[in-house]
Symmetry: C2
Subunit: 410 residues, 2 copies
């Protein structure tokens, strides 16, 4: 049993509690449980935007040389490296997740030229699957995208023909989390690479790319990482692979000597060669609001807070709403859970809509799953209590019958 006092006690003991005030407060009473879609905005972002627009007006083209516009992709990457178990020099923030998946999947195939199979699961996030299918088609189907639904069968299928095991660390629907180290161990033993999409993990749970023996990773930055809607994506490559091939998309920002204006491409050393064209200057400046905060957040505290929020909310959902048709869909074992908690309800769509009307912003996935994404820096245990109470009231009074079915969301 967890009661409100217990929630408040957990909040009083929370070493990250002070970060809540670094984020802009929404309209009073609204609880945002949608970090799996769009994380909260740091309070200083409007001031950053104003400074950035002033640079646009007053500096114009001088911005390229007097400011850090062209260094932001690596500065931002270094700021969140510790959250994903990466060396600061091995991460950049650039392009969007789909483009980065394309870059790294094509790199993986070059690094394993004699192997033809991309091994994935049919429930991987759509864009991950599509990028693989598109690349295979471009390469004249010399590559096979093999999607295996059963997890054990997938691991057993890793073999001498496997170029890369291509998975999302966390399932975007159920929040099921792969054991990254175990998958990497199995892949390495067979000589295969691993490419991870950490979109539904980074900034919430313990992601340890180096320690797990992963090879390649990309991830969304506007979910738990709070980079802002559509902010550029993170890209990581294990150091030993960085210099082995040219980037597939060989743009000028990845050239060894950017301002030489050479006519022959020469890749920059290390991760920087994966930069393409001009960085998203304004988006980068705004995402620095959150990324400057992340530099101060110890990964151990982050993980402990996310685990505590997750276990509190799961317990509350079962305790308060279990008799009202709510069944937790995400893994009971926290070590197998990702950034969000998913629960099923027979009328999930209308219930999710009623939650919105009651100031609890979750999201819905067909056919009946409601997702609560937990942003550890700005949510409290008391928020979990309030959300569960509001859900309970909706189910008891059946106010969900008055709502329209909502559109699905990213």
């Amino acid at each position: 049993m967890i009661d409100l006092d217990r929630c408040r006690q957990l909040d009083a003991d929370d070493p990250l509690a002070g970060f809540r005030d670094r984020f802009a407060a929404p309209e009073a009473g609204t609880i945002f449980l949608d970090a799996n879609s769009v994380g909260a905005m740091p309070r200083d972002v409007p001031a950053r935007a104003a400074r950035m627009l002033e640079l646009w007006v007053e500096q114009r083209r001088r911005g390229w040389t007097v400011s850090d516009w062209l260094e932001k992709p690596s500065l931002l990457g270094a700021s969140i490296a510790h959250l994903i178990g990466a060396r600061p020099d091995d991460v950049i923030v650039t392009d969007n997740t789909s483009v980065n998946l394309f870059k790294l999947l094509s790199l993986a195939l070059r690094l394993r030229p004699e192997r033809k199979v991309v091994l994935t699961e049919p429930g991987n996030f759509p864009t991950d699957l599509f990028i693989a299918q598109g690349l295979a088609r471009y390469l004249g189907n010399a590559v096979e995208v093999r999607a295996i639904d059963d997890r054990e069968a997938l691991l057993d299928a890793i073999g001498a023909d496997t170029a890369v095991v291509y998975l999302s660390h966390v399932d975007y629907r159920t929040s099921w989390r792969w054991d990254m180290a175990e998958v990497c161990r199995r892949a390495r033993a067979a000589g295969a690479l691993t490419l991870w999409d950490v979109s539904h993990a980074a900034g919430a749970i313990d992601v340890d790319l180096e320690g797990s023996g992963a090879d390649l990773a990309v991830g969304c930055t506007y979910k738990y990482l709070c980079g802002g809607p559509g902010s550029p994506s993170l890209l990581w490559i294990r150091q030993e692979h960085q210099d082995r091939e040219w980037p597939t998309i060989a743009g000028w920002m990845g050239h060894a000597d950017l301002f030489a204006f050479a006519s022959e491409y020469e890749p920059a050393p290390g991760i920087m060669r994966q930069l393409t064209g001009t960085p998203a200057v304004i988006a980068d400046e705004l995402m620095a609001g959150a990324f400057d905060i992340w530099r101060e957040v110890p990964i151990a505290d982050l993980v402990a807070k996310h685990r505590s929020l997750s276990e509190t909310l799961k317990t509350l959902l079962e305790q308060e709403c279990g008799d009202l048709g709510v069944a937790i869909d995400s893994p009971a074992d926290y070590e197998r859970q990702g950034g969000h908690i998913a629960f099923r309800h027979e009328h999930g769509g209308p219930v999710s809509e009623a939650l919105l009307a009651a100031g609890v912003v979750g999201s819905f996935r067909k056919p009946g799953v409601v997702r609560f994404g937990l942003g550890p820096l700005y949510l409290s245990h008391e928020d979990c209590w309030i959300a569960a109470q509001r859900l309970k009231k909706i189910l008891e009074t059946e106010t969900w019958r008055d709502t329209k079915y909502q559109k699905v969301s990213v």
Copy 2:
């Protein structure tokens, strides 16, 4: 001879004069002649930023469904279609120019599978060359990137082995402009495609992709188009080619049914399949400031204004500074000139630096070329007069001897 009165008369007769006030005024006295690098900021961008950040705080994940975040790439494309001679449905704004060059060059090679030559010039913009070199390398050098310096020789080299003629409409150094229609005619006659980079043309000069018979085009939006530093790039495909192949980067935003969350890729009809991942939501909203203005600008007025500014400034530079070592480097014939005017001076670097100190923001390219990029919506003929007078004074008094050599710029 042009004098100040004549400049003021030209401004009084300028049908676009009213647009100047739609852009934020810089610090008094500064004249920005750097539209070839970063165009001016529309006055309403700060208000757009504030609204956007409010959406981030208050709407969060609901922004995906209640706002036009996912429609912006096509809405923005339609807003500037008339400036590049395109149908509104054939242009999107997405990713950066390098990524878009990769997409369209790889598409061109798929559309001409039996042809192996990408024909370009060694003075093409670096990222254009690099993208081609990188793609050729990725394809195991089954493709040859043939760069020919002499323009007539390049046209003569278009042959049965040419897959695509791959050029920048305007040279980023000299401002020399290709006759797009002539190149397209020669390419078509040989069965080759054309891929144009209109970065140093769109928003300044007459670009007519449809009328010229072009096949594929990309372009930067933060130069003359005033989209803001690092704003997403424009991508155009002639309608007949749009549905013939899958996109090389097959992301979920290019899927036929975005919210089906399918496991099999099915390309969206038309240009939309070239979208990749999540759009740059905030950047898109800010660039809408300029793109909403462009919808009101007739292309004929734009071209007339740019021509008038160009001819005025060239005349003034020769008239006022010709005896002081200034030699126009850009084409004398306006029909062969692009967005900027380039002039040589023995001490171009220090002169460019002294111009900056005097409030005239141009840019410099080694070894001695100064570039003045002319943004037709916010520059006046009087601005050209003032800039020429300041340059004259710098050269007469040799104040450039007091400056440090400046870094080059984008």
